[in-house]
């Protein structure tokens, strides 16, 4: 049981990671980080529900709640930054943001 959930969480995490690396739209990139959070949330809850030792507890859910709080903060700040970037550069292309690159 635990294995199934953990594997699903891992797949979601890796898909999010691949998406973050591969996609060039800033908004999609941040969506992909949210997807990584999803994978972790499922993992945390599964670890709390099916612990390797001891009785199941709610600690996993509590951690997941904190994770949601962090994700919300991240989304708020990231979207604010994206809005700001778009307003300045008129594009959401991550490859276009090369101002700090050493070339």
């Amino acid at each position: 049981m635990l294995g199934a959930y953990v594997l699903l969480g891992a797949v979601l995490f890796v898909l999010g990671l691949v998406g973050f690396v591969v996609r060039r739209n800033l908004i999609i990139m941040f969506l992909c980080t949210e997807m990584m959070f999803q994978g972790i949330i499922i993992n945390l809850v599964a670890f709390g529900r099916y612990p390797l030792a001891g009785a199941p507890s709610f600690d996993g859910q509590v951690f997941a709640l904190f994770l949601i709080a962090v994700a919300a903060s991240e989304a708020a700040l990231a979207l604010a930054l994206v809005v700001l970037l778009f307003r300045h550069r008129r594009t959401l292309d991550a490859n276009a943001l090369t101002l700090l690159r050493d070339e």
């Binding site: 891992a10 898909l15 691949v18 859910q61 949601i68 979207l79 292309d93």
Partner: protein, 228 residues
């Protein structure tokens, strides 16, 4: 077992590579087929052979929806659809959480993610919408390396996972029956009360930061200035 797992995951990686935006239409179709085969294979490996358990059907359904939605999020060339598939992913994840008796968390996930965060994403995507698809939506950045890295990471996790001992099955009744909301709330406000305060502080900081970043400074009105 490890060999079979490698084949399944490699199939998925190749499928993902073909299905990512930027490829030929036929290759995308083939990639989608590969991805579907890989996902089903992964589920079969997880459910049938290694861990047969009650509730596997529900898990399989939700997991398939979740995987499908997740793949579409990163392969769909149009951002609005990506965001909507992410909503689908949230709903599937919430269903899985309900299966793990985390009802409160499921509700919180839907309210916070689908109800607030994703709506904001959709909002921003719509505002930044352009008339025709843009190059950064229909071209990928280093898809080969990305898929390879993902494959290696997932492969190492999965092989380790399948090699690990199967944990003892815990019957559902082992969780306190008082209701998950009460239990989670008690845990949150006793053991983790400081962490909760910190989370609140973090949210406040994010709120202030977001407003400070995105605020538009009012322009001086030249007409008014001229008169003064």
């Amino acid at each position: 077992m490890a060999g079979l797992l490698t084949i399944i995951l490699a199939l998925g990686a190749v499928g993902l590579f073909l299905a990512l935006p930027g490829g030929q239409a036929r290759a995308v179709r083939a990639g989608q087929i590969g991805l579907a085969a890989s996902g089903v294979g992964l589920l079969a490996a997880t459910l049938g052979w290694l861990f047969p358990w009650p509730g596997a059907n529900f898990f399989a359904g939700c997991a398939l929806v979740a995987l499908f939605a997740a793949v579409r999020v990163i392969t769909h060339p149009r951002p609005v659809y990506s965001a909507l598939y992410f909503v689908l992913l949230i709903l599937a994840a919430a269903a899985l959480l309900v299966q793990m008796q985390a009802e409160f968390l499921a509700a919180a996930l839907v309210i916070v993610y689908a109800g607030a965060i994703l709506v904001t994403y959709v909002f921003v995507i719509m505002l930044a919408q352009q008339a025709r698809p843009l190059v950064h939506d229909i071209r990928s950045h280093e898809p080969l390396l990305g898929c390879l890295a993902g494959f290696l990471l997932l492969w190492s996790i999965a092989v380790r996972l399948f090699a690990a001992p199967v944990p003892p099955a815990v019957p559902a009744a082992d969780l306190p029956a008082a209701g998950t909301v009460a239990a989670v709330g008690t845990s949150l406000l006793t053991t983790y009360v400081i962490a909760m305060q910190l989370a609140g502080l973090l949210l406040l900081a994010a709120l202030v930061g977001a407003i400070a970043i995105a605020r538009r400074r009012p322009l001086r009105d030249p007409l008014l200035e001229g008169e003064e």
